[in-house]
Amino acid sequence: MLVLSKLFNKKEDVDVAPGFLVLTYSSHGLSIVACKRLLDGTRKAEVVDISFIDREISGSYNSEEHILETMVSDLSAYVKEKGFEGYDSVVVLSSDEYVIKMIEKPTAENNEIKNALKFSIQDFVDYGFDNTIVDYVDLPLQRRSDSSSLVFAVCMPKDNMEKIANIIEETGLRPFCIDIPEMSKMHLFNYIYPTESMAVILHIDVRYCQVMVLYNGDMLVIRSIDLGLSVESDNEDWEEVSLEVQRSIDYAGNIFGQQIQSKLYVFPTKESLERGLSFISYDLGIDIEGINLDEQIDYIEKFSDNGQDIDILAIGQVSKVEIIKEEHDAVN
């Protein structure tokens, strides 16, 4: 028995994949950022490829079908062609696949918090307790000491998670992480501005806008505006965005007692949006700083043709690995 216990209690090295692929998708297609781990003994990785797979919708489009399913054959071919079999995968969900809510942190043991959050979040979802997967991030303490702690609880249907995992396995990749766009943007910002303690970020998408307030690298406020902005948007639309930014700043100040610097970070930067952003700057009396990934991320120009759009989320996930690596080095 002693021999057997020695055999099986011996510590094995963690089975580390040679690299990972970050997958982000929308109705237009699938963005892939492939990273290969360096053989220097660290967990650091370098970007080796950025690709985009167009989504072709046939006449027999099935609304029940997951977007990834429609591109699984192309993704499999890509993985095989590039020799990425056995790589880990990090999937960034599309905005309609999950729910994120700021709620009170349950008073429970750490290993029971997720289960308690499942109950708390049932008011916002309709797929049942047993079919709910929950993760959460802690928020900074509120200004009032007698207030309870808050968390951002994120949940998605378990069957959807399993469906995504099965699709990933079908392509020859290994399911490793399923993340959300908000976290990708946060990681991306933290990578580009590692020393910024307080920031208000505006992300402009063709379908929606999102205002995020970060404090010491952690998410403090998330507000989504169901409004796509373009060159055709009128002042009324930009005024609405301006109002949401102001509300977010006020909320962070009231609840968390954090004073916001007079600067608004915006990405992606597009010339077509400059007029609107100038309107916000004038309306709120704050400076606007555009985040230009082409200038900030050295590998964007090398690989990507559309690095200002969907690739942002994938690059954010790559940045997370870099941040984790740097934190790991800092601790050691």
Partner: protein, 195 residues
């Protein structure tokens, strides 16, 4: 740093064994196999010993069985014996009955003839005399014969005898009356109960 991962499944870690570990594991298995074989052999030896012992016991029991079978009588003999026993039991019952009757007679038991004889002798009726009587066992059948010169004395006899305790429940149901042929005027009569 805040981080979210919604891929939450129990991932079983693969147990990867190197060549050295495989050899060690093989050696342990061989050792276990060897010990198991030794144990099996010991078990076989024990069972063989027990088998021999049982064989010896079987032989002894076979001899004893043969001896016992010789002592056991055949079925035919059993039937003959049973028949003889039945005959002897019947004979015994008859002897016992006879013995009982004789003993009763000898000791003048109330259940014998004494009470009937006494009842008949207690009634002395002039011009009437008894010539013959028969008493069955315990008064099961009674027959009284006699003669008289006055036939009207016969009912007196029946009445007096009937008054006696022993004849209380006895009813004479046969009554024969016959005149003698010698012109002496004597009439024979017979009283009898039906069996």
């Amino acid at each position: 740093m805040q981080s979210i991962n919604l891929y939450q499944v129990e991932i079983k870690e693969k147990v990867v064994l190197c060549l050295n570990q495989i050899l060690q594991l093989g050696a342990v298995l061989v050792a276990l196999l060897f010990l198991s074989t030794l144990y099996e052999l010991y078990g076989y030896y024990s069972l063989q010993k027990e088998f021999n012992s049982l064989n010896a016991n079987q032989k002894d029991l076979s001899l004893g069985l043969d001896h016992a079978q010789k002592k056991v009588v055949s079925e035919q003999d059993k039937k003959e014996v049973a028949s003889k026993v039945s005959i002897l039991q019947n004979s015994l019952r008859e002897k016992e009955q006879m013995y009982y009757t004789l003993t009763t007679l000898q000791h003048g038991d109330e259940k014998g003839f004494h009470q009937y004889l006494k009842a008949l002798s207690d009634n002395n009726i002039p011009e009437l005399w008894l010539t013959h009587f028969y008493l069955g066992t315990n008064g099961s059948h009674i027959s009284v014969s006699g003669k008289t010169v006055s036939p009207n004395k016969i009912p007196e006899l029946i009445k007096k005898v009937g008054e006696h305790e022993s004849f209380k429940n006895i009813v004479f149901e046969v009554f024969n009356l016959e005149k003698e042929d010698d012109d002496s005027g004597v009439i024979s009569f017979k009283l009898e109960t039906i069996q």
